[in-house]
């Protein structure tokens, strides 16, 4: 009897391709249906737009430079707010996790802050910081900072007590234990925090711009919607979605790079 043995790597590759095709076919079917709904005049394309119209609107926005102008504003707001969240959130999260006293004092306050919907404070931020980019940066920073704080705090509580004991037995100082055990432990948690924070931050940018202001992708979407330019609305949304996916993918790859010591199989 002959048995054809398919090499494991080949089987895995084939499964990957099949999965990709399955996923892609659903997306393609959706796009075709979307196009037909407008094209066959089942619904007024003014409401639904269609993939071809969205692409055309997108090209026009790129051509006349509108997209990049707004993208530059939104990008600046996001990067400054996200950066501020990392610079403040990383040390705060670490300290909350590392020093029990600080955690006891500030923990409830931070939990209360986290439960408050930041975007609801937007009217206040506009009063305090104006309609310019400052109020948006504040919203982004406040949206992004809490996932970072919480993740790093949790990271500190997962430190392996055995590793600390080994370090102590070799006479390590508290600072050395922090650097050689606590910081490496925190890396995967930092990456997860960064991914969550990127999503929240991006949401913060768009909602803040929709709320008030005269520039940015959020404003572009809001303005296009108010003037019934559904093609432009979809084009704007597409740009935001693409940015989100790219950011998340990049951070995930970064995480995998720093996680390469955590393997599955053992070599004996």
């Amino acid at each position: 009897m002959n048995l054809t043995v398919i090499p494991k790597s080949y089987a895995a590759k084939r499964e990957k391709i099949v999965n990709f095709l399955l996923g892609a076919s659903v997306i393609v079917a959706f796009l075709v249906a979307w196009e037909l709904v407008g094209g066959l005049a089942l619904v007024n394309p003014l409401f639904t737009s269609s993939p071809s119209r969205v692409l055309k609107a997108g090209f026009l926005l790129i051509q006349d430079g509108t997209l990049f102008k707004h993208l530059a504003v939104s990008g600046t707001e996001f990067l400054l707010g996200y950066g501020a969240a990392i610079v403040v959130g990383f040390p705060v999260g670490i300290m909350l996790g590392w020093f029990k006293g600080i955690s006891a004092s500030f923990g409830p306050f931070i939990a209360a802050m986290q439960a408050t919907p930041r975007i609801a404070l937007m009217p206040l931020f506009i009063i305090w910081f104006g309609l310019g980019i400052t109020s948006k940066i504040v919203v982004v920073a406040l949206s992004a900072i809490f996932p970072l704080i919480v993740n790093l705090q949790v990271a500190m509580s997962t430190i392996d007590a055995d590793l600390v004991r080994v370090a102590r037995s070799y006479g390590a100082t508290r600072w050395q234990i922090f650097r050689s055990v606590a910081l490496p432990t925190s890396v995967p948690f930092l990456i997860t925090g960064l991914r969550l924070a990127a999503g929240r931050g991006l949401l913060g940018v768009i909602v803040a711009e929709v709320f008030g202001g005269s520039q940015g992708i959020g404003y572009l979407i809001q303005y296009a919607g108010a003037t019934f330019q559904t093609d432009k609305v979809f084009a704007g949304v597409l740009v935001v979605a693409a940015t989100g996916i790219t950011l998340d993918f990049t951070l995930e790859r970064l995480g995998r790079h720093y996680d390469r010591w955590r393997g599955e199989s053992a070599v004996h």
Binding site: V166, Y170, G171, W261, G263
Partner: protein, 308 residues
């Protein structure tokens, strides 16, 4: 196996092998100064320098349930001379690991003194290195940087540390594995890295806390043999804790038997089997006699003390 022979050996234990046995009844007032001096085997001259000296050591701990302080180790005395391999055996939970942690400086003692090369121990230090039961390697560091970890904590630059550690990397046959991550190694290999990490620091006294207890039976035997050869080669002063009596007899120059908690020294037994030893000695009459003798001391104590 002539069991009568073994019995005789035990009954006449004071004669057959140089043993000091402490009567449990006299325990409270007493701790006999234990015999680094009695009947030293020719390989380990008694006039060697005392590396580790434990005097009247009492270790208490706070029992979290009752809130009272309980005694884990009660007035332990002994000396270990340079190059000696000494093993503490006792029932699990008898306080032997607490005792070893105190020697490592990780646990404070309430009374008495620990001295390493004459210097009083108040905390962890570079003169001692501990090998724990769990390998506890830093999973994000490759094997090479794990071996040099202790040296780096002592303030040495990674490349200098690597140079200093290379002798032990070769000796423990880890060369070629420096770029592996711990998860790529088997349990036995991980434990060898753990051992190399301790040896790389070149401590005056090497402390082993049930180093092979987490390994499977076959790997354990192989590691025992390897440690035996290693110690005969480098001549380190070693204090080990184990509950495997045959492991203790195979590796040690002296076996110290701890009582049930609170721990005190029941006996300090010399193992007169000449070195170099090989695992085959486990088959000999002499070896079995010694194991039996130690076992009956532990068993007798467990019965007197109201059971296990």
């Amino acid at each position: 196996m002539p069991s009568a022979n073994v019995d005789t050996n035990i009954k006449s234990s004071g004669v057959a092998t140089p043993v000091v046995r402490i009567n449990p009844a006299e325990r409270p007032k007493s701790v006999l100064p234990l015999p680094a001096s009695t009947g030293a085997p020719s390989l380990k001259p008694a006039d060697r320098e005392v590396k580790l000296s434990v005097a009247d050591l009492v270790i208490g701990y706070l029992d979290k349930k009752s809130g009272h302080t309980a005694v884990a180790v009660d007035k332990v005395n002994f000396d270990i001379r340079e190059g000696e391999f000494v093993t503490i055996v006792g029932l699990s939970g008898c306080g032997k690991s607490t005792f070893l942690n105190a020697i490592a400086g990780l646990v404070q003692h309430q009374h008495g003194e620990i001295r390493v090369s004459g210097k009083s121990v108040t905390g962890p230090g570079a003169d001692r290195a501990m090998v724990f039961q769990k390998a506890s390697l830093l999973p994000w560091r490759r094997v090479g940087r794990n071996i040099t970890y202790g040296l780096e904590l002592g303030g040495m630059k990674p490349h200098e540390a690597r140079e200093k550690a290379s002798y032990y990397v070769n000796l423990i046959r880890l060369n070629g594995f420096e770029n592996h991550y711990p998860h790529q190694l088997s349990g036995g290999m991980q434990q060898r890295v753990n051992l190399a990490r301790a040896l790389a620091c070149d401590p005056e006294v090497l402390l082993l806390d049930e180093p092979f207890a987490a390994l499977d039976a076959i790997t354990r035997e192989l590691m025992q043999q390897e440690l035996l050869e290693l110690c005969e080669k480098v001549g380190k002063t070693v204090l080990m804790v184990t509950h495997q009596i045959d492991e203790a007899v195979l590796l040690s120059d002296r076996v110290i038997v701890f009582s049930a908690r609170p721990a005190h020294v029941l006996a300090d037994i010399r193992i007169p089997i000449p070195r170099p030893r090989r695992a085959e000695i486990k088959e000999t009459e002499e070896f079995r006699g010694l194991v039996h003798q130690i076992w009956s001391i532990i068993e007798g104590n467990a019965n007197i003390g109201g059971g296990i």
